[in-house]
Symmetry: C4
Subunit: 314 residues, 4 copies
Amino acid sequence: MKVFRNSQKNDLGFGEKSYNNGSRLINRDGSFNVKSKGISSFNVSDIYHSLITIKWWLFALLISTLFFVVNALFALLYLYCGVDQITSIPAGDLTSNFWDAFYFSTQTMTTVGYGLFAPVGTHAKIFASAEAFIGLLGFAVATGILYGRFSRPLARLKYSKNALIAPYQEINAMMFRMVNMRSNQLIEVEVSVNMVWLNKETNKREYANLPLELKKINFMPLGWTLVHAIDEASPFWGKSASYFADQDAELIVLVKAFEESFSQVVYSRASYRVEEIVWGAKFVSMMENRSGGIVHLDVDALDKFQEVSLNSQS
Amino acid sequence: MKVFRNSQKNDLGFGEKSYNNGSRLINRDGSFNVKSKGISSFNVSDIYHSLITIKWWLFALLISTLFFVVNALFALLYLYCGVDQITSIPAGDLTSNFWDAFYFSTQTMTTVGYGLFAPVGTHAKIFASAEAFIGLLGFAVATGILYGRFSRPLARLKYSKNALIAPYQEINAMMFRMVNMRSNQLIEVEVSVNMVWLNKETNKREYANLPLELKKINFMPLGWTLVHAIDEASPFWGKSASYFADQDAELIVLVKAFEESFSQVVYSRASYRVEEIVWGAKFVSMMENRSGGIVHLDVDALDKFQEVSLNSQS
Amino acid sequence: MKVFRNSQKNDLGFGEKSYNNGSRLINRDGSFNVKSKGISSFNVSDIYHSLITIKWWLFALLISTLFFVVNALFALLYLYCGVDQITSIPAGDLTSNFWDAFYFSTQTMTTVGYGLFAPVGTHAKIFASAEAFIGLLGFAVATGILYGRFSRPLARLKYSKNALIAPYQEINAMMFRMVNMRSNQLIEVEVSVNMVWLNKETNKREYANLPLELKKINFMPLGWTLVHAIDEASPFWGKSASYFADQDAELIVLVKAFEESFSQVVYSRASYRVEEIVWGAKFVSMMENRSGGIVHLDVDALDKFQEVSLNSQS
Amino acid sequence: MKVFRNSQKNDLGFGEKSYNNGSRLINRDGSFNVKSKGISSFNVSDIYHSLITIKWWLFALLISTLFFVVNALFALLYLYCGVDQITSIPAGDLTSNFWDAFYFSTQTMTTVGYGLFAPVGTHAKIFASAEAFIGLLGFAVATGILYGRFSRPLARLKYSKNALIAPYQEINAMMFRMVNMRSNQLIEVEVSVNMVWLNKETNKREYANLPLELKKINFMPLGWTLVHAIDEASPFWGKSASYFADQDAELIVLVKAFEESFSQVVYSRASYRVEEIVWGAKFVSMMENRSGGIVHLDVDALDKFQEVSLNSQS
């Protein structure tokens, strides 16, 4: 009887079956090509998650709109109570009364409370008390969200647009490179690269880990060129670009590092579809030779490569 | 003389003795079936812990009630000083004086301070100073608690209601599955499954780790079906449902993952009592076949299975 | 020529030389018996560290005193400008002027700003602007400190007052136990125990790691009794209490766990001096036998033990 | 055919090529000697990162200046609307009007709102509403930054100015020491030391890990002297100071520890250029012999050493 133990199976989590023939598993921005049904996204954690990840201009727009709308609602409430419940608002024109009620509301919600407008009627006093309370809690929430936005320990790694097949010692190697786009430092940076392809015979996805020349570095002050030597054990050995295109192949890159400013572990991912691999090319150096003892790194050269002829594989 | 070294004993932390015959060790929500005596829960850390874990409606109710009660207490204090210590509060009716003192209090605590009501007497000035100070610190505390509520890195994993015994290659396997109910990503997801049962002869609990076909995945964009192959080494081998029911058996699931939005490690647990294991069934796929290159996952199908006949164990 | 590689030396960090003969290395509260000279403790990080670790009553006292003192200083400043720079403060009696200036200051710093007192002179306006600004920043700092106090992921483990030498299978074992005093859960709890003693011949400290029957548990819903079997390899083998007293011996306990509510790793330490080890005793169970399927744990019984006779060591 | 697997290559992340002959890789403060071009530093994360790392006096200056400038801009806005839109500002002299508008602005932004100055015109009301809103959000941002400044889990390790080559048992050893300059505790402290030098023949950088007598300690209540025994396998074996100077050699120190007050992992780095290594010297003890059972550590003696003669290497 065979024993079916966990045999170091290498499945990245995408499973064996392919549901999206011909399209990529991981998008260029690191997100997954998956849509879920049945997950109600209306819960506080997910709303918070959205609010700390949206763009700044959108966040500013949202919070300003919310401030306007809530004040308008309170203004309507004060109008309903009667403007005579608030000092210094003259009776009369509904529009100007609404706006005065609106300004009273903003002065209450922000707790400025100049006092020129002040509640004198019972209902206005109740609503004004509630509004100031809600206002302060609202700004407490905003404080939390703003801090959440600031303090996310993101690794802003930028990957070269292409992976290259370049000559390497007496054989060839698959190479790509990355650079840290932030001024913080990444420490103990670790990279793993896997290849995924569709086995046309079994119609199942297969996975292979690609060993790297160097898979962990202590510091990353410069860019890092990842090198997978194409020896006989490599899935690239003796294969050409057209072979992989036919197999719907994709390289999945997972980077783990320690981000120094927030003292936390961060992850980053990338993927190279077979179309993004260039056969017979090598990267142009990003380092500039200058005098003065300080290394100069030109990040704009990240994607630059030049054509070279490959070593033969035999 | 025998040497009694630590022999890789597998105790999950529940000990050898059983104190709760017939009831589960871990509840469906992941909490433990234990009550402690002698732990005074009245300390700040535990109060904070409660405040960040209770439901939102309860939190809102609590904080509003607190706001009301503290203002009422200060109102009583101002009444005691005499309403003549506050401008614009007319002497007279006690009830209306109380409410005016209450509104003065809310205007002070929220630091709105319109000024229509303002302290003129010495005692009122002292109490108003204290109240504004307490109010601001109170909202500082609320800010901390609100941020604490938002920023808890929870893994909201949902587990299939049942674990199944299903045919697997030429043998059978125990399977259950789980899905991430949040829009964030879980990375480096690792699962360990243990079986606990009561040995009727020794009356002691025994533990066995169940090896999995795959115990770690890099990403979990889709649901994950955990598979324990029932080979000769498995405690399920040659056993039926009734055998385990008699042994008070329970599967303990521990999941560890890296939560991407908060960059922190999170844990989740689940348990399957023997009654929740279905012999002879397999899961219905959650993936929907659609065109367009994007995988569609139907979370509502998580619990769905269909009956199948098992492979014989011999 | 001998090769002097790092030979798994076991030094906990206290070094080989003993500087405090006869006193403990780790105090009962987990702090170290070390005083440093030359470390100026007047830096912001250490002040923050102090403010988040002092007792709550002391923190409340400090912050209230600070509020009082800063307002008194601003009051003096306003007095110096002249009370005629503030509306509604009548000229005259210096004491009453000081207190009115003080209340004006509190109304400014808390940003209540009723307006009955309001700055009209230029200097008063300048100082009032500065004070409101400083006040808001001060409450921002207080918010940070309060959150820091709340969100410290502490493991409040309580250790049994004594370690015991108890009979264990056919030999004896050193045992102590611990219990989680908070309502949160500790996961993946890992313990290491080391013995430190002074070698009277070399006058150097020696260290030995004590292997445990079980050194890691997945969950700790109940108390945990740590067991070090005294076999021939143990430093306790064939030794009596008096032997160790002479050697200035101490057991150093280091606990590492994952705290679930803050999703962070926490450490706890404890130490048992040889005087705190009881030869010939075993712990009384903390579990109460009750009906109902819920385990009842009596934390008050943590320190309770009863005398027993030991197995002979031969 | 040779197989080119990842052969435990030891590259710290600085690469093989040298771009800064003769200058150090890591500065004394732990920063890297690299300048990047093409990284726009104008993004929110990097601004936040700057704001939490700059000196306190600079932070205070920045935030005060910002407060002044924003209020001046709003003052200009109110002037443009006309001072008649604000109560109690007398028409007339432009300068005094500006300053009154400025104080109205500060009273609005800090939400003091005494009310002596209050907006009566429509434009003034709109701008005042916006200013109070912006003010509160601004202080929310300040709260986040202040908390970020406080709560950075920094390891303030101080390293001895020099590394020493000292006699050690019957051979010699390279030693340096470090001390924790903060009152918090570092746990599980782990050190790795690498030597980098330029191979003059290949003109490539080479790396060697230097094994330590003890590379991890559980606690660091005292200073820690790191010891690399110079045996035959060491790159120091049989070499003199002049040999390494010629090779542009540098020792790279990486320390990893668990910081107890923030429950987070922290890293620290240091480097010793060959000029900073003293041949034939040993450290003077930092421990003071006093009575009382408490160890006294004199941090000021960190750099002190005395000359000794070395053991011969043969």
